[in-house]
């Protein structure tokens, strides 16, 4: 057994070094590739969104993003259905009982919540966006969770509610993705887009999509962590 382990490690090391050598010798990246500036400018002007990443993510490649959101939903569904009624006992005691932690959490939570809201609302004109915003919001809730103990929060927010929020915001994303296009143009396009790039009220469906995605990611990430906390994990 030990000899086999040593052989495995050796072979793995050889393969890893070989991989490095092969990849670095042949990757041969071009020094400087020209960006298609006209195309990017066209994207920016057509969507009216000054954050090009948001424009690409939520308009040009919205089709990808839809599937990606479903990947996220699959994970949440899996975590929920596998941890919901498995044998793990619920934790009764709070994770941390230190006063410092508790007060720090109370002070930090509003700041984190504000940051999350900013990221989601201004996602089309500044860095951030729905994914970042939702994840930051979930992190803020985790802070509270650390301070109060998960059961306190769980008594206020039911898992079923989270499930509905998640499903409905996903439905909203689908609706905003499909309906405007179906009514006024091509499917999965953003006919309401336009406006002055950099303005808050620009980008047609994109700000709404950002908000909905933030809701969804928040609900999903929170549900995942909630179930992890409840199921006293022991790996």
């Amino acid at each position: 057994m030990r000899r086999r382990q040593a052989a495995l490690t050796l072979a793995g090391a050889a393969a890893a070094i070989g991989f490095c050598v092969v990849a670095l010798l042949t990757i041969d990246l071009p020094g400087d590739a020209a960006l298609p500036r006209e195309a990017l400018t066209a994207v920016r002007d057509k969507t009216g969104v000054s954050n090009l990443v948001a424009a690409l993510l939520l308009d040009v490649r919205l089709y990808d993003t839809l599937f990606e959101l479903f990947v996220f939903s699959m994970a949440v569904l899996g975590v929920r259905s596998f941890l919901k009624d498995s044998a793990g006992p619920a934790v009764r005691e709070p994770l941390a009982e230190s006063h410092v932690v508790r007060h720090a959490a109370y002070v930090l939570f509003p700041a984190v919540a504000l940051l999350a809201a900013y990221l989601a609302v201004f996602g089309h004109v500044a860095p951030g966006g729905g994914f970042g915003g939702g994840a930051v919001a979930a992190t803020g809730f985790l802070l509270v969770c650390v301070a109060l103990g998960v059961e306190v929060l769980a008594s206020r927010i039911r898992d079923g509610v989270l499930e509905w929020i998640e499903g409905l915001s996903m439905l909203g994303v689908l609706a905003f993705a499909v309906l405007p296009g179906a009514a006024w143009g091509e499917l999965l396009s953003n006919p309401l887009g336009g406006g002055r790039p950099g303005g808050l009220a620009s980008g047609g469906a994109i700000p709404a999509l950002n908000l909905l995605i933030a809701c969804k990611v928040f609900a999903g990430a929170w549900a995942v962590t909630y179930h992890f906390v409840r199921h006293r994990g022991e790996v």
Binding site: A15, A55, E68, P197
Partner: protein, 120 residues
Amino acid sequence: MTTGVVVAVVLFALAALALVARRDLVFKLVALGMINGSTVLLLVSLPRSVGRPPIAAGPLAERLADPLPQAFVLATIVINFAVLALALVFVMLLVERYHTTDARRIEQLVHEEEESCSSS
């Protein structure tokens, strides 16, 4: 070639080695996370995707970072979170059953159980 690309390849190789050499499932999952991280790093460190942030209301900056890999990478990060969370759930359930995180031992235990099932 940027430093980021080299580091990404090295990280990938390191994590692959850990996948082969480490038997503990937690380390395997950490290695998977690093593999995902290295692909993200590679996409963002391509020569064309290093530059000024692609956010501009006016004319586009001279040395602009390519926004397309960034859009890809955002998707990838979310997908990786999903994969890792699910894998971790399964590891937790397996540990509850077999009380070990050693991949080889779990394989043996599963096999033994199947044997005893089919022989009875």
